[in-house]
């Protein structure tokens, strides 16, 4: 069928800020879809609130609205643009939910907007548990015994009849938010209550648990002509029970016979046909390991994280094809973009094994509950490709950037059998390492099989790796053994450690003996057809398929898995760098391992190597390609950290040199340089022992900011106020202090934080903007609300910042991007907090709002084109006088149990949203709404305030009262407020209990906001405060832990609301 001629303008909905369960995969899907639709000649309008994405570049759609993805704002866009059709199935759950809301609102009918892709009926039938069950019964596909409940009591009733364990799944939530397993009534009540609250329709599915079944997924596609295909099947190494986003997954399925595979394939196709989906769909099935019995677990009627993974695993671009199917094209009409000789209507055959590992944020949240269940906790993932399981698996392990180079963790080696068993049983994120250690220790494999229900295929293969470790130890420095180890995925660094060599020595030994990998192509057809896809992976095989051109080449390193502190922003910068290189006539080669992102779309670069980002893996590519050099400054800390070892291998780093990178990152050199440039920084020193730290702290005076050197996203950074706290920090927060990794102890300055991103070309500096943080110093810059142009600081301060920025750029000889964080104290003294010699989190934000493509300019500067040559005037780019832009952080606290939501020097946000408008209040409003905070014009606020903040909080409380907000407060706070003439609802402290306890008030949604500040002086981990914050997070009530955030909110409310002051009060 030809494409639709009756529609011209299509509104595409993005997925908004990155949260756990909805991440960079939608940037990839969304930008592919928009481009795909434009290719077909449609006018594309986009709404997405996420500024960090490629998708929201103005080149991706005809018009891009970076606005909150809410009914209100989407309606405004529809009225203004009058699209003919809307496409929501590429914007994740957010996109689908918005389509449903818009439909229910009636505006789609009113404006004649047709829903493309997955129609409403299909969305409802897939997402509404009752309708889905009914449909499955109709087409005779088995689903587990279950009940849809709207109350906790009904859930209990179901379990009384059908028994425990059960799984609770709230309807219409992403990443399984709020769900979980319940083994008894108490657990059921707790999980179900939270689940009902978090479900937008107040509905949960209580389902018989099929934990222990194999979890198998099929990525299927269907067109309007009812052709349906399977793009990829995947097998979770973890059985049903662990969310697929948190599971280790392999593709294709490994342990199913063809009969089992075809049975499930047919079921999946039957389902997509029954749902009449036009586009991609993900079907999750549970298969009994002991029979042909299976159940349908879940269907996602849209592209998903799994479809991004399937696209990268097979080379089949699901989102791109989905968009074309949505406008009426059929699979047999669309050419397979990989082979260009076959059609999209086929099923990829792959001749390698893909392994996906989730990347968890537990390194940043040591207190979080690491047990994995139905609620997703991973922030990102990595993928690896190999020709054997061992090769693929070990590549995956070293791609994680968890400081592991093998399936080995030293801390597990010292554990006894019981401790290991505990780790394995508890199915936490490190279980696979515990399993390996168990096998290494020679313990009984059958216990693992029994406890984990993992297929013995996988455990046996891990055992093969363990057996090879013994071979390794038995044949130290033996070349034949080395060959075998490399074929099985062992890393140089692990072999080096065990052979008592340096990593480079192992590398050189290999090189001398010709033990090098070749590159194989990902071609969707297992080599059956010729293809020209520039998408490769390494393997220790015979034939190399990656033919090098004689063009001028540059290798760009990506940023690896998405994690807190290193998000999609770095992928954005990488993609722009590559684009610029290609435009400039260079062959741009990307090395990266993140399957979710745009940078690993094979059409972005001239060549994509899907490889771990380690020295050896990068060096292999470099040895083959012989590029002019490597660009490391766009791939975040991941890439920067490789610079040193690459230089040791004789590789040229393009842009800022290694010495200058080190000058910014090495504490002593940095201090010396700033002194030389006469730029002040907060007083501080480095310590390698507790005693030293105490002496330094005494000298500079508390409070002090402590952190390990070379940190990412403020990991393990804390503000400490006295000796005791410092001792605790040194003992707990930091595992290894050494001369290589000392602790920094800095004076903590109370003041305003600002930051700049700038470009230097070796001669001049260009600063597109200064960003001002709403929260005072102490809150990590990534968690602060950031405003451009600056609103509060004086012209003088701004000039100082610009001056420092320019001097640093020149003084450090930067070439390319750099970022500087500043702090300004109350006397308008400006200090430099840190300098990052690389792209930063704010680069996409600043690029978009100023219209200055920073990564592109920086890339050109790296290539030798000066700022002036590029047509820019060095110095400060004039501020936008007509708009205000606000970037608000977005958190995923609801998904991470036991994580304290209080903001501090350690970064906790997973994503960001942009709000822009003509003044600060309006922009703030949009940013807050876009970040998921509901901002009602009237309601109630609960205050539990630390003593030292009370006077400041009083002012806020008054302002809340003036606009008619009801005030709830705990005893101490309430007393102060009442003394100052405010009417206050008393909230009981937790230990006082009762219906009026703070926890109950939050749980029952009696307040819209919670403002909770923590005392510096008393115990900083006060249990009450923690509970309040957690209850708020789990009940979706915004909790502000910084008075600055609260003040910003108040400003917004004031701007939106009317005053509510009685005549009596007015007289006063």
């Amino acid at each position: 069928m030809p494409k639709r001629q009756d529609i011209h303008k299509i509104l595409v909905i993005g997925s908004g800020p990155i949260v756990i369960g909805q991440a960079a995969e939608f940037d990839y899907a969304g930008s592919q879809a928009c481009q795909s639709l434009r290719e077909e000649g449609y006018e594309v309008i986009l709404i997405n609130s996420n500024p960090a994405t490629i998708m929201t570049d103005t080149t991706i759609a005809d018009r891009v609205y970076i606005e909150p993805i809410t009914l209100d704002f989407a309606k405004r866009v529809i009225y203004k643009e009058r699209p003919d059709a809307i496409l929501g199935s590429l914007g994740g759950q957010t996109g689908l939910n918005l389509v449903v809301d818009l439909h229910n609102d009636g505006i789609l009918d009113e404006c004649g907007v047709e829903i493309l892709g997955t129609d409403l009926h299909a969305i409802n039938r897939a997402e509404d548990r009752e309708l889905f069950r009914a449909l499955m019964q109709e087409i005779k596909e088995p689903v587990p015994e279950s009940a849809i409940v709207h109350t906790v009591d009904l859930a209990v009733e179901f379990c009384n009849t059908h028994g425990y364990p059960v799984v609770v799944r709230p309807a219409y939530t992403l990443g399984g938010t709020g769900g979980g397993f319940a083994d008894n009534e108490e657990e059921l009540r707790e999980i179900c209550e939270a689940g009902l609250k978090i479900s937008p329709v107040g509905q949960c599915l209580i389902e018989q648990s099929i934990a222990g079944y194999k979890e198998i997924e099929y990525e299927v596609m269907r067109d309007a002509n009812d052709n349906a295909i399977v793009v990829c099947n995947m097998e979770n190494i973890d059985p049903v029970g662990i969310h697929t986003g948190d599971s280790i997954v392999v593709a294709p399925v490994q342990t199913l016979t063809d009969r089992e595979n075809q049975m499930l394939r047919s079921a999946s196709l039957k389902i997509i046909r029954a749902l009449k989906i036009c586009g991609g769909c993900n079907v999750q099935l549970a298969l009994d390991p002991e029979s042909f019995k299976y159940y349908v677990i879940e269907v996602n009627p849209r592209v998903s994280r799994s479809s991004a993974l399937a696209s990268k695993a097979t080379g089949y671009p699901i989102a791109k094809i989905s968009a074309k199917l949505a406008v009426g094209l059929t699979l047999d009409e669309i050419l397979n973009p990989i082979t260009k000789t076959s059609y999209a209507c086929f099923e990829p055959a792959i001749d390698y094994i893909v392994t996906k590992f989730p990347r968890f944020p537990f390194d940043k949240f040591p207190s979080a509950d690491r047990h994995l269940g139905t609620q997703m906790k991973a922030t990102g993932e990595i993928m690896s490709i190999g020709r054997t399981f061992e090769e693929s698996f070990l590549k995956a392990v070293r791609s994680l950037e968890m400081k592991v180079d093998h399936i080995y963790k030293a801390e597990f080696a010292s554990m006894d059998q019981m401790q290991l068993l505990e780790k394995i049983k508890n199915s936490d994120d490190e279980r696979i390492f515990a399993i390996a250690q168990w096998l290494r220790n020679g313990f009984d494999m059958s216990i693992i099989l029994k406890e984990t229900k993992m297929d013995s295929f996988f455990i046996h293969h891990i055992k093969r790796i363990i057996d090879l470790e013994q071979e390794m130890m038995a044949h130290v420095k033996d070349v034949e053994t080395l060959k075998v180890l490399k074929k099985n995925g062992f890393s140089d660094s692990y072999i080096a450690k065990n052979w008592n060599m340096r990593e480079k020595e192992v590398y050189d030994l290999r090189k001398a003996n010709g033990i090098f990998p070749v590159y194989k192509m990902v071609d969707t057809c297992a080599g059956e057809f010729t293809s020209a896809t520039p998408y490769f992976y390494s393997s220790y095989e015979e034939e190399n398929e990656s033919i090098c051109s004689d063009r001028k080449k540059i290798v760009v390193l990506g940023s690896g898995p998405i994690r807190i502190g290193q998000g999609v922003e770095f992928d954005y910068a990488t993609v722009h760098c590559v684009e610029t290189l290609r435009e400039a006539g260079y062959e741009a080669i990307i090395i990266n391992n993140n399957p979710e992102t745009v940078s690993t779309d094979f059409s972005i670069s001239d060549k994509l190597y899907f490889e771990p980002l380690t020295t050896e893996d990068v060096m292999h590519v470099i040895e083959l390609e012989k590029p002019l050099g490597v660009i490391v400054q766009f791939g975040g800390q991941t890439a920067i950290n490789l610079a040193d070892s690459l230089v040791q291998h004789g590789v040229k780093i393009l842009g800022t040199s290694l010495e200058d990178i080190d000058r910014a990152e090495d504490r002593h050199e940095f201090e010396a340089m700033l002194r030389k440039l006469d730029i002040p920084q907060p007083q501080g020193e480095t310590a390698v022992t507790v005693e030293e730290a105490l002496v330094i702290a005494q000298k500079i005076g508390y409070p002090v900011l402590v952190r390990p050197s070379y940190v990412l996203g403020g990991r393990a950074m804390e503000i400490v106020h006295n000796d005791d706290e410092l001792k605790v920090y040194m003992a707990t927060a930091v595992k290894e202090i050494s001369h290589d990794a000392p602790i920094l102890v800095d004076k903590y300055i109370v003041g305003k934080e600002l930051e700049i991103d700038a470009i230097a070309d070796g001669e001049n500096v260009f600063i597109p903007g200064v960003m001002e943080h709403i929260e005072r110093a102490g809150v990590h810059s990534g968690d602060s609300i950031s405003v451009y142009p600056t609103q509060i600081i004086s012209e003088k301060v701004k000039e100082t910042i610009i001056d420092y920025g320019i001097r640093i750029g020149k003084g450090f000889h930067f070439i390319g991007l750099y970022n500087i964080q500043f702090i300004v104290d109350k006397d308008e003294n400006v200090y430099v907090l840190e300098v990052n010699p690389r792209s930063s989190r704010t680069v996409p934000f600043l690029s978009k709002i100023t219209g200055i493509q920073m990564s592109n300019i920086a890339t050109k500067a790296i290539l030798g084109h000066s700022i002036v040559e590029q047509g820019y005037t060095p110095g400060y780019h004039p501020d936008d006088k007509h708009h205000v832009f606000v970037k608000a952080p977005v958190f995923s606290f609801a998904k991470l149990r036991h994580v304290d939501t209080v903001l501090g020097p350690e970064m906790k946000s997973t994503g960001e949203a942009l709000g822009s408008d003509v003044n600060l209040e309006k922009a703030l409003y949009k940013a807050l709404v876009a970040s998921g905070i509901s901002v009602p014009m009237h309601g109630n606020v609960l205050l539990t305030i630390a003593d030292e903040d009370k006077s400041e909080a009083l002012k806020l409380a008054k302002r809340f009262a003036d606009i008619g907000y009801g005030i709830y407060a705990t005893k101490g706070t309430a007393k102060l407020l009442e003394e100052n003439g405010l009417f206050v609802h008393h909230a009981n402290k937790i230990e006082e209990g009762g219906d009026n306890s703070v926890v109950e008030i939050i749980r029952h949604g009696r307040v819209n906001f919670v403002i909770n500040t923590m005392s510096n002086k008393t115990n900083s981990t006060s249990k009450d405060g923690f509970l309040i914050r957690r209850v708020a997070a789990e009940n979706n009530i915004s909790c502000m832990t910084s008075l600055d955030t609260a003040e910003a909110l108040t400003r917004v409310l004031e701007a939106l609301s009317f005053s509510m002051i009685s005549m009596n009060e007015m007289g006063k």
């Binding site: 002509n225 009812d226 052709n227 295909i229 399977v230 294709p252 399925v253 490994q254 342990t255 199913l256 016979t257 063809d258 009969r259 595979n261 075809q262 394939r265 047919s266 196709l269 390991p289 002991e290 029979s291 699979l331 047999d332 000789t341 076959s342 059609y343 209507c345 086929f346 099923e347 990829p348 055959a349 792959i350 001749d351 390698y352 094994i353 020709r387 054997t388 399981f389 297929d455 013995s456 295929f457 046996h460 194989k520 057809c525 297992a526 080599g527 059956e528 057809f529 010729t530 095989e541 015979e542 034939e543 398929e545």
Partner: protein
């Protein structure tokens, strides 16, 4: 133990031995199915061939008693990248290695199967053999170059005598050219009362059973090698309902005056899209054939093309314009492969119903 795979172009790959050491010269072909190695190994259409799986991990789920496509496998050798000797599946009875040894099939693993696949793709299928590491490679290469392909594979794999698989439904004679058990399963599932006959059974003997229809099975080799069956089919078509699969399809085409030709490297896999030219719909099919029916040659026959491969546009199915006779190049019985086209057996049943003997 090490072992060699030697190709007629002189290339030699060193890998690890498994299975038996019954080395035979065969045509090296590759199959792109990611599951179903047991079905593929036991598919008698591979008689005279050495099968190489493009999917690298083979043996994962062992071998079970249920998924065989023949009692005696006829494949000449098995080539894989990585062999799993510790399989797991609830139905698994033994390892693949044990099975191959018992069935006297040699295997090799640990070689760059993708490199060889690319070679076959570019140069076409080749004669090859497995050999011991100490073998005289040059002598073997010379022998490979001088050896002709087999011409008697159908005779080797067809049943030796007539036997029934009784049931109470339609009476169907299955001409066995090396029939996959999947075809028998599909027909039995639909209640067919089967009589299996050897490939050279004369038409009058077949018609003597008064069948409602005749099923022409798949089978190995060049269809032109089985002239005796072509003659038989020519006689059967005007008399009864005829349904052909794979080799059966090629034989019908030859019997009706069309021509066949050898494909460069064939279609072997479980992901081949085929368009039904009547409905315009595409099905993903299981395929295993090295020959195809020449589309141009259909012009002068009473056959019309009903199915076509989406990728190389080769002929995937025909229908007789005058008689109830149709055939497909692919495998509606799947095993291994997608179940998309099972409905063709229903079409066969319907056609027999329409032409009912007693009606």
């Amino acid at each position: 133990m090490e072992r060699l795979l030697i190709l007629e172009d002189g290339s030699c790959y060193r890998g690890t031995a498994f299975g038996s050491d019954n080395f035979q010269i065969g045509e090296l072909v590759f199959n792109t199915s990611m599951t179903g190695y047991q079905e593929i190994l036991t598919d008698n259409s591979y008689c005279g061939q050495i099968v190489m799986m493009t999917y690298p991990l083979i043996g994962n789920y062992g071998v079970n008693r249920d998924d065989n496509e023949s009692i005696v496998p006829a494949v000449f050798g098995f080539v894989v990248k990585d062999y799993c000797d510790e399989p797991n599946n609830w139905r698994s009875q033994e390892t693949l290695d044990t099975y191959l040894k018992r069935e006297n099939i040699p295997g090799i693993y640990g070689i760059d199967t993708r490199a060889i696949t690319r070679k076959l793709r570019d140069k076409g299928t080749m004669r090859a053999t497995l050999a011991n590491v100490d073998a005289d490679v040059d002598a073997i290469v010379k022998m490979l170059q001088e050896t002709d392909y087999l011409h008697d594979q159908v005779k080797r794999v067809s049943s030796q005598k007539i036997f029934p698989i009784p049931n109470r439904g339609k009476k169907v004679v299955l001409m066995d050219f090396g029939a996959k058990l999947g075809i028998v399963r599909e027909l039995s599932k639909r209640g067919c009362d089967l009589i299996v006959v050897p490939y050279d059974t004369p038409a009058d003997v077949i018609m003597g059973f008064h069948p409602d229809g005749v099923m022409l099975s798949n089978g190995p080799g060049n269809p032109e090698d089985v002239q005796v069956a072509i003659d038989t089919i020519q006689k059967l078509i005007p008399q009864t309902v005829v349904f052909g699969i794979c080799l059966g399809h090629q034989l019908i085409s030859l019997a009706c005056g069309a021509k066949t030709y050898k494909l460069k490297f064939g279609h072997r896999g479980a992901n081949h899209p085929v368009m039904d030219l009547k409905t315009g719909k595409v099905e993903i099919t299981s395929q295993n054939h090295g020959f195809a029916v020449d589309i141009d040659s259909l012009k002068n026959t009473r056959l019309e093309m009903t199915h076509q491969a989406l990728n190389d546009k080769s002929c995937e199915g025909v229908r007789h314009k005058d008689y109830p006779c149709f055939s497909v190049q692919f495998h509606p019985e799947a095993s291994a492969g997608p179940l998309d086209s099972g409905h063709l057996f229903d079409d066969f049943m319907e056609l027999m119903e329409k032409e009912d003997h007693y009606a």
